[in-house]
């Protein structure tokens, strides 16, 4: 973790992460539409600032829990691109040996405790990780990413209450993209700003523009510092927007083309960040172009790796149900 001001190296690092997530999601979406990927996928394009900003302030040993829309979190936390790409193909070289797929990407070696196909599944797991860190006197933080829709699950309540009682080192980050599947948050959620709910648990609440990478970083710094210093949990509402449909293939009849276009053109977190760093003279346009080229090359390589990798041997299908090797 580097808390120095935004110099060229840091800016390029941050940009590279956001661009990598965007390029990954764009590529995956294209491959899926061509019928080349199994299962189904949820793109986080448009929401890159949150994963990137938050994870940039975490140590490797800090943990995160993620969601069905979890590629960005995994990438920002540092998963190998080859491993995540191969996982989405269901290949043996995937992060989970092809067992998990898009909704279950995980890499415990970097504290990425798993995407989760169960909405709201991460709250208690993050609390458990924070509890373990506290118990073992490790100076670690757990971050739980979740959507606005997940904030209506009972698991939210149980986890935040306990985190509040025990002042656990956990940060609850709501990626509030205003929709859960095809339903606008206002139709199912009693409050617009999820951070209002912090008061119900005696914890700190914060609310920021989640498409503003620097605002994400600032809010994360405050919350992580609080967690590490024994000040307890924080609930942050980060406003954002998803550029693509709920899943790849979604007809998106629940929102207007104008709304999507406006967000893409005015709220795109990558555009906003690049505009900022160029204007501030930290990075040049051509450096940005270089980053993009390098990222594309990296994605190409990962795709090639994934495509070339073998599928798991069906004879291994019973392995790892239990810790003793299966047959």
């Amino acid at each position: 973790m580097d808390s120095s001001p935004l110099d060229r190296t840091r800016a390029i690092d941050l940009l590279r992460t956001m661009e990598t997530i965007r390029a990954f999601e764009t590529r995956i979406e294209a491959l899926f539409k061509q019928g080349l990927l199994p299962g189904f996928v949820h793109s986080c394009a448009g929401q890159e600032a949150i994963a990137t900003g938050v994870c940039s302030r975490l140590d490797r040993a800090d943990c995160i829990t993620s969601t069905h829309r979890g590629h960005g979190h995994a990438i920002a936390k540092g998963i190998e691109l080859d491993a995540i790409f191969a996982e989405l193909y269901g290949k043996a070289a995937g992060a989970c040996g092809g067992r998990g797929g898009s909704m279950h990407v995980a890499d415990f070696s970097i504290g990425m405790l798993g995407a989760n196909g169960i909405v709201g599944g991460g709250f208690g797991i993050a609390v458990g990780a924070a509890f373990a860190a506290r118990y073992q006197r490790r100076e670690q933080v757990a971050v739980c990413f979740f959507g606005d829709g997940a904030a209506n699950k009972g698991t939210f309540h149980e986890a935040l209450n306990f985190a509040g009682v025990h002042a656990l080192p956990v940060v609850f980050v709501c990626e509030n993209n205003r929709y859960a599947q095809f339903t606008a948050a206002s139709r199912t959620t009693a409050v617009a700003d999820i951070s209002v709910r912090a008061a119900a648990y005696g914890i700190e609440g914060d609310s920021i523009d989640g498409n503003d990478l620097l605002a994400v970083i600032d809010a994360t710094d405050r919350a992580v510092a609080r967690a590490r210093s024994g000040g307890g949990a924080t609930l942050i509402n980060m406003a954002t927007y998803r550029h693509s449909g709920h899943y790849v293939g979604d007809a998106e009849q629940y929102r207007s083309r104008e709304e999507v276009a406006a967000s893409r053109s005015e709220q795109d977190p990558i555009q906003r960040f690049t505009a900022h760093i160029v204007a501030a003279g930290v990075v040049t346009e051509s450096e940005i172009a270089d980053v993009r080229l390098a990222v594309e090359a990296r994605i190409d390589a990962a795709q090639q790796f994934a495509e070339a990798a073998p599928f798991p041997d069906p004879a291994t299908a019973m392995r790892d149900v239990f810790t003793e090797a299966g047959s």
Binding site: M103, H104, A180, T316
Partner: protein
């Protein structure tokens, strides 16, 4: 009356409409329900009946079931879309401790007419949390009825029966067939719960099955016919109540029973089918009972692993050949 080709999902939609037109107290609740459901099973309902009757719910599965219980005890009939069957696990307390026990533990004061519609089964790499079949759990809970149609026509008639039923019904719709087209009888019709159907008569072995495995069994039977093997396929249609008489009669005729399902073999419903056969077929001496289901693992994502865990038509063929030694 004639019939039309439509998807399983559309067939259920027709049943919903008959039920809702008939009884203004039938309401439908579920996440994103006004957007039509994952397989179009609810498409257009909100336009026809309005958002007060077709209610978009928050992502709050335990509330969905508890609210259905409360509303039905207060006079409504509630069809709740649970989306994927794994999400019912988040409402298991409400399903088992409340819905299934309400009538009995309150001494028959109320019924709980709710239908929980849930999509189960594998559909090509949906992964461990979106591919399971959980009827093994539901069937072990007294007070719940459990329905698992294999085709659109039955789906329509069984859903009509499920909504008309005064007690809680878990209605399982297999993901792989909800979007598939087949002939569905026109007009209003009811398939009573507890009536199995012999969908293909045969004399060498009785495959007792339900849901999409019926379709696999029909494929397998066709293939085995070319080897001279005559397979009888019994489609249970509802698991609770279970039509033991039809199973027992088939078993008595063929002498060999294979209980088959997509869900896990160990501790699964196939064992119950076989136990019933053992209890009901008078002459046990020649009877042979077998079962086929998923191996005991979560359903893997990878295209090469999923079929290694969950059986399909080819596995049925292989198992029947092994059993009959042909």
């Amino acid at each position: 009356m004639g019939s039309r080709r439509m998807t399983f999902g559309q067939a259920t939609l027709e049943a919903m409409q008959y039920a809702m037109d008939e009884d203004p107290n039938v309401v439908v609740i579920g996440e994103d329900i006004s957007w039509g459901g994952n397989f179009g099973q609810f498409r257009g309902l909100v336009d026809r009946y309005g958002p007060e009757r077709v209610v978009d719910m928050p992502i709050s599965e335990s509330l969905i079931v508890a609210m259905a219980v409360g509303a039905s005890a207060a006079g409504l009939k509630v069809v709740a879309s649970m989306s994927f069957v794994e999400f019912t696990l988040g409402a298991m307390d409400e399903i088992v401790n409340q819905a299934s026990k309400f009538r009995y533990m309150f001494g028959g004061q109320v019924s709980v007419p709710i239908v929980l519609r849930a999509s189960d089964g594998v559909r090509g790499s949906s992964g461990a949390q979106h591919s399971s079949s959980l009827e093994g759990m539901f069937c072990n809970v007294p007070g719940l009825k459990v329905v698992a149609p294999s085709n659109g026509d039955d789906a329509k008639g069984l859903l009509r029966a499920a909504i008309a039923d005064p007690d809680p019904v878990v209605y399982l719709e297999h993901k792989q067939i909800t979007g598939q087209r087949s002939e569905v009888a026109d007009g209003d019709h009811v398939v009573p719960l507890g009536s199995a159907k012999i969908v293909r008569p045969g004399s060498d072995i009785s495959v007792v099955t339900y849901s999409n495995m019926v379709n696999h069994a029909l494929v397998a039977a066709e293939e085995l016919a070319s080897l001279g093997v005559s397979v009888e396929v019994v489609d249970l249609r509802s698991l609770v109540p279970l039509d033991v008489a039809t199973i027992a009669a088939s078993a008595a005729r063929t002498g060999v029973v294979l209980a088959a399902h997509e869900s896990w073999t160990f501790g699964g419903f196939g064992a119950e089918i076989l136990a019933q056969v053992r209890e009901c077929v008078p002459d046990q001496s020649q009877l042979r009972t077998h079962r086929l289901g998923a191996r005991s693992a979560p359903i893997p994502f990878s295209p090469t692993l999923e079929p290694a865990i969950v059986p399909g038509a080819a596995d049925l063929v292989a198992e029947i050949r092994r059993i009959l030694a042909v």
